[in-house]
């Protein structure tokens, strides 16, 4: 497994995480593959869809229980949870950078290595003004990239400096 050398999850780790194409609701995708003490995702889940026995366990999702509320995406301290909805070609990614994009804006969609793999339209922004929370951006991407896009970059890079 290359994960521990590269920081990029191996393909076999991602197998089985993708939601079925006809799923009625978005599904959380937990890209957390290492045992260490952390459990906020389990704690915030309103439907007990995330299962851990001990705090060091790797969280496991029960898809039938997930309602796609995105609470775990916001809570995850490792920014390792995303949300995917094949029916509408949507993917939700955490975004802790300035500027925060607006709805309707076109942004660069990045894969797990930072490559720009698509231009994506922003469909929604959660926690845009709450600095202590994690901002989550929902973008529309080509279907085949739903399990590839894991970050965004705002194209017109406004200068954040003096």
């Amino acid at each position: 497994m290359k994960l521990f050398e590269t920081g990029i999850p191996d393909r076999e780790l991602l197998e089985g995480l993708a939601p079925p194409p006809d799923r009625a609701k978005p599904l959380a995708v937990l890209e957390c593959f290492e045992e260490f003490p952390c459990d906020p995702c389990k704690a915030v889940c309103p439907t007990d869809a995330i299962v851990m026995n001990r705090i060091t366990d790797i969280p496991r999702l029960i898809p039938e229980r997930c309602t796609g509320c995105a609470k775990c995406v916001v809570a995850c301290p490792g920014l390792a949870i995303f949300m995917v909805w094949p029916k509408k070609n949507l993917v939700w990614v955490p975004h802790e950078f300035v500027p925060i994009p607006e709805r309707g804006e076109i942004v660069d969609a990045l894969d797990r290595e930072g490559n720009v793999i698509a231009q994506a339209e922003v469909k929604a922004v959660m926690n845009a003004r709450k600095k202590l929370e994690t901002t989550v951006v929902c973008v529309q991407v080509p279907k085949e990239l739903l399990m590839e896009v894991r970050a965004i970059r705002v194209r017109e890079k406004k200068d954040a400096r003096d």
Binding site: F4, T6, P37, C38, V98, E113, G114
Partner: protein, 368 residues
Amino acid sequence: MSEKLDVQLAVVGGGPAGLAAALAASRFGLEVLLIDENKELGGQLIKQTHKFFGSHNHMASVRGIEIANRLKKEIRENSHITVFLDTTAVGYYENGELLLYRKSPEEKLVSCFPKAVIFATGARENMLAFPGNDLPGVYGAGAVQTLMNVYGVLPARKILMVGSGNIGLIVSYQLLQAGTEVAAIVEILPWIGGYIVHASKVRRYGVPILTRHTIIEARGKEWVEEAVIAKVGEDFNPIEGTEKVLEVDAVCLAVGLSPIVELVRQAGVYTPYIPELGGLVPWHDDDMRTNLPNVFVAGDLAGIEEATTAMLEGELAALSAAEYFGVKSEEIQKMRKDRKARLEELRASRFSDKVKNGLQKLAAKRPK
């Protein structure tokens, strides 16, 4: 100009361990003097913009800066705790004198003989040996955090990060957030040192993590203009011909921390060398008692770990201090059991093997 002061319990250091210690001690009626060298309490917490891991019951998923704010508020509202900011504890002597240098509100020396002291002096950044390591622009990871997260000053335009432990990974991400380009993260080991989720975060923005690589030189006339990195072999020595020159204006070292032991050593606390805990470290038992009956330790000083464990250690040290003052309460035993269980839980993953190993070695060195 020096003045004398009557103190029951002094807590030296207002980082996570010291704040937790002061608050816990006050719960048992102790009068606490909390001393910190900075103008603001919180220690390294005030630089931690990321959300903490750990248990949701105990501030996981809360950003470090917010944890600092909550603790500071509790301290402010606590009538048993007196805070001396901008004050350096410059000496602790065998006669029990703790000498304080206060810079404000007026500059003066203050002498006190606290009946007990909890030291939570934290740690300092390690250096790495390579040519040019003294050039301006070679920074410790904590310094980079201070510049960008406390003062809002961009540390560099393009930086090389040395070390892929949690600090190296977290600070790299924070650099990206501030607008600095991270040329690469080099790691001498064959694998990433910190949590993989932190590594994945920086990879998503295109930062390469080069395992089996190290820095071999920083170059520049007056400050860093280039960094030379190379691949290392099985013996960790650079392999000739693999050198690569990176155009960067800073190099950030995240190669570990060492406990700040000067004060406890002055007092006569036994400080054996335990590499797994960061080097010289005060001997202490699992209730944070040292070989001196009225001196306790907590946090990174007691072995390099992280803020969550530091806070628990601070509370354990306060419980021991309360007992030293003769406080008898079931609450002490209850709290102790709970905090120890939480420490054990937090140390349950492979990331804590080194610390646990170090603590075992330390226990074996119990002084007679």
